[in-house]
């Protein structure tokens, strides 16, 4: 049984983290020093000085995540991001939020001292969080791929798709990212829409991704793809989109937007046009994982072929390796060996069931490989995104 952490706003978490957040790079060292005192405390933040609406929205969403019980914001004091308004927004969810401004505290040592006192008191609060039973229907699961190779579209991604179908069938919530990997698949994706509004939003999201790719000159299927057996851009894209499974798509959400209801959702993390043009989309895998977490994902299922070691702050990351040779070399970092499909030792259904079972075990408190190794990557870039109003 999954025993969740019941939050004042009605959310149910599967982890009970205290989050220390730097609101500018200038306060990141002090934040890390405060957080280093206890394994239950995680440090993350936004490095930029001039404020960014997207990054602020993201920090509020992450501070209000069901896996987070309390937040300590550490500010230098003169940066563009307003720690006070972030604190106010997170406090409205009923969480305890504290703010320290280094300039007011009198520098490094007084801030670290005060921060550690606050952390000790906030950890006591976290121990008193009530526990409530949860089921798969209460879970939000995200998926992303990185370090893909020719096996990814055959083994790991379709196996995650099988697990996603099981989550949706159990009345859970599932989010698939990477509209940039739906190039050439606009009508295939739109045909999966649960209703006409969702179809309109899906078409618009894929069209935006196509425009972005054309401008960024990333719109191609490379000779190596052909040599590897991929005939068309549709096939290449579907190899990634296979993670979504086969169930109807309820609509499109943007970064830091919680799915409005249960079922399968597409996360559009591609920037919208701003005075700076589009800007970069997903600068690295950790950013993509954090996008999913900002939408409320309790767990992120990450598929890889060439290999990856990352985890994340806030939510556990389950790594599914599709290449049997990579798995043999990096098994200490991998939670699931989907390479067994390539070796014809297991079926997609069997590995899909294993991923689903591991999701429930992880939700019940079993640590992932990345959690055991202490991985806590995060990345929040400058980005410009409008919210999605149909969602």
């Amino acid at each position: 049984m999954i025993l969740g952490y019941a939050r004042a706003d009605g959310g149910l978490g599967i982890r009970n983290h205290l989050l220390c957040v730097h609101t500018v790079e200038c306060s990141s060292f002090v934040t890390q020093q405060i957080a280093a005192t206890d394994g239950r405390v995680q440090a993350m933040g936004f490095a930029g000085c001039y404020s960014n609406e997207y990054a602020a929205r993201m920090m509020v969403a992450l501070g209000s995540h069901p896996n987070v019980g309390g937040v300590l914001l550490v500010s230098l004091g003169c940066e563009g991001t307003d720690a006070g308004s972030l604190a106010g927004a997170i406090r409205r969810t009923g969480r305890r939020v504290e703010v320290l401004r280094i300039q007011e505290q009198g520098g490094t040592e007084p801030t670290i001292r005060r921060g550690r006192e606050l952390v000790a008191s906030m950890l006591e609060d976290l121990e008193r969080v009530p526990r409530l039973p949860m089921t798969v229907a209460d879970l939000v699961i995200g998926t992303e791929c990185g370090g893909s190779d020719a096996t990814s579209g055959i083994s790991a991604n379709p196996a995650v798709g099988r697990a996603f179908d099981m989550i949706v069938d159990a009345a859970g919530t599932a989010i698939v990212e990477e509209t940039l990997e739906m190039l050439g698949c606009r009508e295939i994706v739109a045909a999966r829409a649960a209703n006409p509004e969702a179809a309109t939003d899906l078409r618009a999201a894929v069209e935006k991704a196509e425009t972005f790719s054309l401008q960024a000159d990333q719109f191609s299927i490379a000779p190596g793809n052909h040599a590897g057996g991929l005939t068309t851009i549709e096939e290449k894209s579907m190899g990634a989109f296979a993670k979504s499974g086969t169930r109807p798509i309820q609509g499109v959400i943007k970064v830091a937007q919680t799915p409005p209801h249960k079922g399968l959702w597409v996360l559009d993390s591609v920037p919208d046009r701003s005075p700076f043009g589009f800007g970069y989309s997903n600068p690295n895998d950790s950013e993509g994982i954090l996008d999913l977490i900002s939408c409320g994902a309790h767990i992120v299922v990450f598929t890889t072929g060439r290999g990856s070691v990352i985890g994340s702050v806030i939510s556990p990351v389950l790594k599914v390796c599709g290449n049997p040779k990579t798995y043999a070399r990096m098994s200490g970092d991998m939670d699931v060996n989907a390479g067994r499909i390539i070796a014809a030792e297991s079926t997609l259904d069997e590995v899909g069931r294993e991923i689903f079972d591991l999701i429930t075990a992880t939700a019940s408190g079993q640590p992932t490989k990345a959690e055991m190794l202490g991985h806590r990557e995060y990345f929040i870039p400058y980005k410009s995104q409008d919210l999605c109003f149909n969602a």
């Binding site: 379709p158 190039l183 295939i188 299927i221 052909h226 005939t231 579907m238 989109f241 086969t246 390539i342």
Partner: protein
Amino acid sequence: MSFSLQESKALQIDPRDNVVVALDDIAAGSQVLIQGRMLEALDRVPFAHKMAIQAIAPGEAILKYGVPIAFATARIKPGDWVHEHNAQSYFAARRKVEP
């Protein structure tokens, strides 16, 4: 070395698919095991490439992941290798550009 017929393995990703994916390099003439039944490979099919398991007429869809990922540009027989020589992107055809 064994003198028995070489047996290769292939994966049908979705039950609706009319192609399978080679899990090894499949030699022409070898017997391919596809979810419990055997089919003779008519061409060499490299690892991760596609082999037809049904006849596909020109213009008909190549189904992988249960969706049309290409259309046939030639008559395809069960056991044929399916790639750029006999299949084309709908998307590229629409855009009138090379894929």
